[in-house]
Each structure stands twice: as C-alpha cells, then as structure tokens.
C-alpha cells in the first residue's frame, strides 16, 4: 500500500496505463486470431466482450472512482440501444450523428435522474438508481411503435461517414475495441486529473471535500452523466451487433451483472472491470450451453473472488451502509 502510494506520487499514471495497454493488446490479439482463423462465432463473442466491458468500465468509474453504486446502469446501455433503433427509424444511422446523439440523450437522462438520486446516499441511492432504470424499462416497453415488449429489429447497421464499417464481424469487433480503448484510457487518465482527484477524495471523505470547498454534488453529477453517455455508446454497438433492440437490455439483472463484473475485477481498478466483464461472459458461455443454472457457477466464482479479495466487496457495501 505504501509502495503503491509512493508509486502514485512519482508516476501516477504509469501502472494503470500499463495494465490498460495489456488488457487492450490481449483483446486485440484475440480478435486478430479469431479473424485469421475465420471463426465468426469467436469474433462476434469478442465484440460482445469489448462492448460489455465498455459498459462495465463506465460503471466502474462510478463505483470505484466516484463511490456511486448504481443498480441501474443497464438502463443507460439499453437507452443507448434505443436511440440507435429510434434514430434508425428516422434514417439517422451514421455514427457521426448517431454516437453524439446517443451520448447526449443518455447523459441528459443520467444527469436528470442523478440530480434526484444524489440527494440520497448509500442504500437509498442504490434503490433510486434501480427505480429510474425500471422506469426507463417500462417507458420503452410501452412504446408499441418501437416494438413494445417484444422489441424490434434495427432498420440497418450504422455507418461511419457513409462507410458500412459495422457490416462485418471484424468491423464490429474493431469498432468495439476502439470504443473500449478510448473509454479505458480516457477514464484512467481522468482519475489523475484535478477532476478525478476531487472525485476520489469525495468518495472516500465527503465531509473533507465539502469543507475544502468542493461542491461534491456537481462533481458526482458530471461523473454520472459521463458514465451514462459512455454506456450509451456501448448500447449503440450492442444494438448494431444484435440488429435488434428490446426492453430486456434494461432488465435489472443485467445491471446486477455489470456490478458483478466491476467487483470481480476489483472495484477500484478500471482495467479490472474489463477483465471482470470477460470472465463473466466466458462463464456464461461455458456454462450456459449445458445448464440453465449457469448463474450458480457465476455465483461460485463470485464467492471465490470475495474470499480472495474481500476488501473490494466490503468497500462496496461499506459505502452502501453509510
């Protein structure tokens, strides 16, 4: 711990950036191998890993850096997917327009809901984030024009400057990787900026941050909006991969899964969230094929992870208890 502190002192960014680079290179290599072997299933699986990892990463920023345990983050992903669906219905399918649109719409939704949820702390905050996610779920479920309960197929895959970059499995996987890389490096960097410093200080000791003159509420609101926007971008890619969007994207247990990914990778480690996402998806695939009860296996892994690195969970729930 002391060593870590001294390290942070001298080269605050080196270690997390190195971990980030490692994770990204590994994923890139896997994508290339899958592509070289012509394995379409693997390619699309890896794309899904990168997309899910981006969503988990944005949640990790909230939980691990800002101390805001959201139990509704899947709604942000789902809303991003719905922006892709609905915009597509109106002929907007180029990422130059679609991506900023999804980001802004969901960041705004996040900011508005956070403005209310942030007036509470701990368990109440968690419950409110869940409530807002359920609200989003039911709103989308009621939009019969866009598929209602059953969901709806995407008009067509998105383009970039008119080029059908998401058309192939490889294109989609690389786009997902690019988004993940930008988000990972961006978030890691952010934690060491002035803003990140305040965010982390407020997470650990809110009264100190307030007494020093920081309006903690605002800092956390921005973090919540930013994380929502990034999750929405993951949602846009998810919609493009499935070519289909339904309210089930926003199901509360998907939010729970995202929390599991974050905690599994070590709540305060941003690159860890990527690993957590990969592990959960691999377990889901490996066990999901031959048993309905794959979540039991996931549960066992979580228990093992907690036993091995209990500090992370206790940090999570220590926060929740306040």
């Amino acid at each position: 711990m002391i060593e870590a502190a001294a390290f942070r002192q001298d080269e605050p960014l080196r270690r997390p950036l190195r971990a980030a680079a490692l994770v990204l290179v590994a994923l890139a290599a896997a994508i290339l191998v899958a592509w070289a072997m012509g394995n379409a299933w693997w390619l699309s699986f890896l794309a899904r890993v990168a997309i899910t990892a981006t969503a988990a990463l944005s949640l990790s920023c909230l939980i691990g850096q800002a101390g805001l345990v959201s139990f509704g983050h899947a709604a942000q992903v789902g809303l991003g997917a719905y922006v892709a669906l609905i915009a597509g219905e109106y002929g907007i399918a180029d990422l130059t327009l679609l991506a900023p649109l999804a980001f802004v719409v969901v960041a705004l939704w996040s900011a508005v809901t956070a403005a209310l949820a942030l007036r509470t702390r701990g368990v109440y905050f968690i419950m409110l984030t869940l409530a807002f996610a359920q609200m989003a779920y039911f709103i989308m479920q009621s939009l019969s024009r866009f598929g209602g309960d059953d969901g709806m197929a995407l008009a067509r895959r998105a383009t970039l400057f008119g080029a059908p970059v998401l058309k192939t499995d490889l294109g989609l996987a690389l786009a997902a990787l690019a988004l993940l890389a930008a988000a990972l490096i961006g978030f890691v960097w952010m934690t060491e900026t002035r803003y990140g410093l305040v965010l982390r200080a407020a997470k650990e000791n809110e009264s100190r941050a307030l007494a020093s003159g920081f309006r903690v509420f605002r800092f956390q609101l921005y973090a919540y909006a930013l994380a929502g926007g990034v999750a929405a971008l993951a949602g846009v890619l998810l919609a493009n991969q499935a070519e289909f969007v339904s309210p089930s994207y926003m199901n509360w247990h998907r939010s729970g899964e995202l929390i599991v990914m974050v905690v599994l990778g070590g709540a305060t480690s941003l690159p860890g969230a990527v690993i957590g996402a990969a592990v959960v998806l691999i377990i889901e695939e490996a066990l999901g094929h031959w048993t309905e009860f794959w979540k039991l296996g996931l549960g066992l892994v979580i228990v093992a992870a907690v036993l091995l690195r209990g500090a992370d969970l206790s940090a999570l729930f220590g926060r929740a208890r306040r």
Binding site: R8, Q9, T193, R194, R208, A211, S212, R215
Partner: protein
C-alpha cells in the same frame, strides 16, 4: 466591530429538546486570535459547524467578511475563505500527504478544477503544497500515505490543508488535542507565527496555549456566551473559574 471578519448574531440551534446554541453573538476582528473555551458538551464544535456551514442554525445570522452567509453551504463558505480544522482529524487517508494538500490547494485555484493535466504533476499546485507542508514541518512526509501519519502529524497535515488556501479565517477545533508535547509545542509555535496574518477562532483546552495565543477569549457554557474579554479579564472572572477552570469556591 462593524469591521469584524466574522460576526455571529443571535445564533440559536437545538437538537430536539437539547438547546446547544443559545443566542450566541460574537465577533472576530481581523488579525485577531479569538479563543473559544468551555466545558465538554458546551456546544463549541456545534458552533464551529454552524460557522463553517455544515450545520444550519435554527435562527440568527452568520456574517463573514461583511457578507451574510447564513444560507450558504459549506463549500461556498470555504471558497470565500473559511478554513476548518476538525476536532477529529479529517483527511483523505488513502491519499498521500502531498495529494491531500494539492487537493486543498485546488479548491481555491482561480483556474478551478478542470484541465487535462495530471493534477499531482502541476508545478504550481505542488509548489503551493510544499510551501504549506514546510510551514507545518511535514515536507519529509509528503510521499507517505496520510493513513500512516501519527496523530499529531495528521493535525499538522490538516493545518497545512487550511494554510494552502490562504484562508481569511481559520476555524481550529482543538488542533492540539491528542498530540504529543513536542508536537503540541511546535503547533503552538506555528500558530504564533500565523498570528496577526490570519484571524483564528481557536477552540483549545490547554489554558497555557490559550492564554499565550489569544487576543480575546469567549467562554461558552451550556451553549451560551458566559463572557467575552481579554485573557486576563476572563481568567480572573469568578463565573469562569467555577464553571470551567474547575476552581469552585472554597
């Protein structure tokens, strides 16, 4: 006293049936070290909290630097130049000593808190932070984690976090409590060097410190001001001796 840096007017605060602040009116003059003394539970910390903005009074006004700040929150008051050292050390444990002071320095930066640069590498912030750490004798501890500091060093760190903000008023809630004799002596010496430059509202139990530093002393008993005056006058006061200094009539 219209020039006072801090004026409290008829402050009143109750926790349920317990009235912890009773019509407190008090002025701190610019450059003054104003000691606030009183027995445990007299309501000193609660009063500081109302000045700092972490507690709202039920009635009355807080005027800071000529501005009515009664309805401003704690961050707004801090940005106007109120720095607080808590009774129970309040630093970011997982941060290094330097990071704690840099954080504090950030709060009063005119360039605010945005920017893409790595905060801990900002030369301006580092310089200000090291200057403050030097004042409290903590430079050597800069790279260490705050959690590893001794109790006295934590107090010194909190003092540095206040100093780096160049406060217009320092609220010090028992800054010497729990520190060793040597540390306590050093902190007293530090406060003495600040005297005249930074006004202080100082809660302190050690009477020799109070009488060495304070220009004026206010005695709080059961939430109400019992007496305000020069140290000698207060020391000689019979009520004070009975209620606080523990020298009941023979």
């Amino acid at each position: 006293m219209s020039e006072a840096i801090l004026s409290l007017r008829d402050l009143d605060k109750s926790f349920g049936a317990l009235r912890v602040t009773r019509k407190v009116t008090l002025d701190v003059a610019p450059g003054e070290v104003h000691a606030l003394i009183g027995p445990n539970g007299a309501g000193k910390t609660t009063l500081i909290s109302q000045i700092a903005g972490s507690l709202k009074p039920d009635s009355g006004r807080v005027i800071f630097a000529g501005e009515d700040v009664t309805h401003l929150d704690a961050p707004s008051r801090a940005q106007r130049g109120l720095a607080r050292v808590f009774q129970i050390s309040n630093v970011v444990d997982s941060f290094t000593v330097l990071a704690n002071v840099v954080l504090s320095a950030l709060a009063t930066e005119t360039t605010a808190w945005w920017g893409w640069g790595v905060a801990m590498k900002d030369p301006g912030l580092r310089e200000r932070a090291f200057y403050a750490l030097d004042q409290v004798g903590l430079v050597e501890r800069a790279p260490d984690q705050a959690a590893d500091l001794s109790y006295g060093e934590r107090r010194a760190l909190e003092l540095a976090m206040g100093l780096v903000q160049n406060p217009r008023l320092f609220l010090l809630d028992e800054p010497m409590a729990g520190t060793g004799r040597e540390e306590s002596r050093r902190l007293t010496e530090l406060l003495r060097t600040l005297k005249g430059r930074t006004p202080m509202l100082l809660i302190e139990h050690d009477m020799s410190t109070v009488f060495a530093l304070a220009d004026r002393v206010t005695v709080l008993v059961d939430g109400a001001v019992a007496i305000t005056g020069a140290p000698d006058v207060v020391r000689a006061d019979r009520i004070v001796r009975e209620a606080y200094l523990g020298e009941g009539e023979p």
